[in-house]
Amino acid sequence: MSEPLLQAEGLVRHYRIRHGSRLFSHPATLRAVDGVSFTLQPGRTLGLVGESGCGKTTTARLVLGLLPLTEGEIRLQGETLPQAGSMRWRELRRVMQMVYQDPLAALDRRIAVGRQVMEPLVIHAIGAPAERRDRAMAILQSVGLQAHHFDRYPHELSGGQRQRIVLARALILSPRLLVCDEPISALDVSIQAQVVNLLLDLQAEMGLAYLFISHDLRMVRQVSHEVAVMYLGRIVERGDPDRLFAAPSHPYTQALVSAIPVAHRSGRQRLILKGDPPNPVDVPTGCAFHERCPIAVARCRTETPALRPLADGRHVACHLAPGAADA
């Protein structure tokens, strides 16, 4: 196996916040990300799923060094990620780029989109002006836009076209890793498929690796080589998308998968969870999921389950998962 492109080990990001009512507030720790590890090989896609507030965006920002780690380590091409803002970090930033959910917010509405696509070349002082323009034109073409789009302004483009501009700008420095945080959520159904196909084509052509964050589990299955399911700052299950979605092992993954509305529910029973996800300030003891878990036993309230391998290569953090090897 080649050297991993990205290694994340024991990522932790805590926030010190004031908690409680205004009168009786006290300092507390919010565990946004609480021990997340994964590796990503070149040219592969890791899908990151989980409900709002479970720490997906925080993980993405940690990976890019946009947010300091409370604990843990990130290695890019074997090299420990240097401090954000340092010379070396800036160089490494060329290797990894981010694509956000809202293309309109990511673009400057006063500047023609072509110039925005060229901007990273200007920042990194790459090429002469004419070369930059040629390169931007080429990238626009590879994301399925035409030369005449170069001089348009963001509001003159459709949502899908804007997201292509954002992609073009992220790709112009030939990165090896693209962190995509909900890249298609703001797009219409018929346009989502266009953008997802484009991401897959670009990966095949350029060998890009993706960290792909989405709440749309079908799309995640469509693009991912591996999927990680997060709950309250931790990965609770990780593995091959087909196996994970066909036979989820963690009770939370089971609930998440069964919550996907489908045309024909083939025998699978709908699993409706009780209650809301708890607050990352008051993370329950033991397994963070035990209060909503339909099968929790006494041990789940006291002992935090570690992520353990299953026979099929998956990993799951549940005391009750059948077939999980005891660590």
Partner: protein, 324 residues
């Protein structure tokens, strides 16, 4: 089938946008019977919300409404404001797409429910509060009596949506129009809310109109679906028919663009191009420029909806029963 509960005929909406008038709805026909669950799907801007806002007279005076909305023996289009007020909330309730617009942040939820009960059912005082608690309990909020004293911001997104449903039920409506009731919610909470809507419908024989851009949501929760495109209903069929034998190429396109959850992964078939702007519609069929079955005749005129078999309509010159 009998007389429909509500019969929308040729509904048009024109928005006055200063220099120009923009037509957002081009003649929507939709009849719903008592106890039926109908899904309304379509991409952003296709006219799903406007259809019901127009039917209930909620679009304000910048909008010109044409056509008829027949409900309980009257036409709601052009009806006096007092008539419309009597229908809204009490006979037809709507859960609005933007939840923040509907619960008032400065009042306790008990007060807001009691006010709705006063308005729709003339209840007041202790009786109204008792009924409010019963409604909260009905929508699955534990410890309802204590919760009446909470403000909206003290509740989670899922709980606020339950309160919205309780408000909608306060008038014992015959039709509940739920406009994207779960889009802002997490997957596991979305499943809870949809389950609740199903349960209420089973118990009350109320008709449900579920507006969503998600075909899956509609498939699981309704009997029949209307697909909208650019201000028109282009297909109207029972759920099973939509998935097994869609007749409009746009419906087929939407289905092919959705990834599966099981089975081998296949490349998605994207619909090329984009939805036309309402002031810049193509000639004839609005879907023609994106349609794989396009031919010159498609530009000649807007295709009328044809009944293929009983209960299945499609507006496409190529539509034949059981094929696309």
């Amino acid at each position: 089938m009998g007389v429909p509960l509500i019969d929308i005929r040729g509904l048009t909406v024109d928005f006055d946008a200063g220099q120009r008038v923009v037509r957002a709805l081009h003649g929507v026909d939709l009849a719903i019977h008592g106890g039926e669950a109908v899904g309304l799907v379509g991409e952003s801007g296709s006219g799903k919300s406007v259809t019901w806002l127009a039917a209930l007279g909620l679009l304000g005076n910048r909008a010109r409404i044409g056509g008829e909305v027949l409900f309980e023996g009257r036409n709601l289009v052009g009806a006096p404001a007092s008539d419309l007020e009597a229908v809204r909330g009490a006979r037809i309730a709507m859960i609005f797409q933007d939840p923040s617009s509907s619960l008032n942040p400065v009042y306790r939820i008990g007060q807001q429910l009691a006010e709705a009960l006063q308005l729709h059912r003339g209840m007041s005082g202790a009786a109204a509060l008792a009924e409010a608690a019963r409604l909260l309990d009905r929508v699955g909020i534990a410890d309802a009596t204590r919760r009446l004293r909470d403000y909206p911001h003290e509740l989670s997104g899922g709980m606020n949506q339950r309160v919205m449903i309780a408000m909608a039920l306060s008038g014992q409506p015959r039709i509940l129009v739920a406009d994207e009731p779960t889009t802002a919610l997490d997957a596991t909470i979305q499943a809870q809310i949809l389950e609740l809507l199903q349960e209420i419908r089973r118990d009350s024989a109320m008709a449900l109109v579920l507006i969503s851009h998600d075909l899956g949501v509609v498939a699981e929760n309704t009997d029949r679906v209307c697909v909208m495109y650019a201000g028109r209903i282009v297909e109207d069929a029972p759920i099973a028919t939509i998935f097994e034998a869609p007749a409009h190429p746009y419906t087929s396109g939407l289905l092919a663009a959705l990834p599966d959850l099981e089975g081998p992964r296949r490349r998605l078939l994207a619909i090329p191009g984009v939805v036309p702007e309402p002031w810049n519609l193509p000639l004839g069929c609005s879907f023609a420029p994106r349609c794989p079955e396009f031919e010159r005749a498609c530009e000649a005129a807007v295709p009328p909806a044809i009944e293929l078999v009983h209960g299945h309509r499609a507006a496409c010159i190529h539509a034949r029963s059981g094929s696309a």
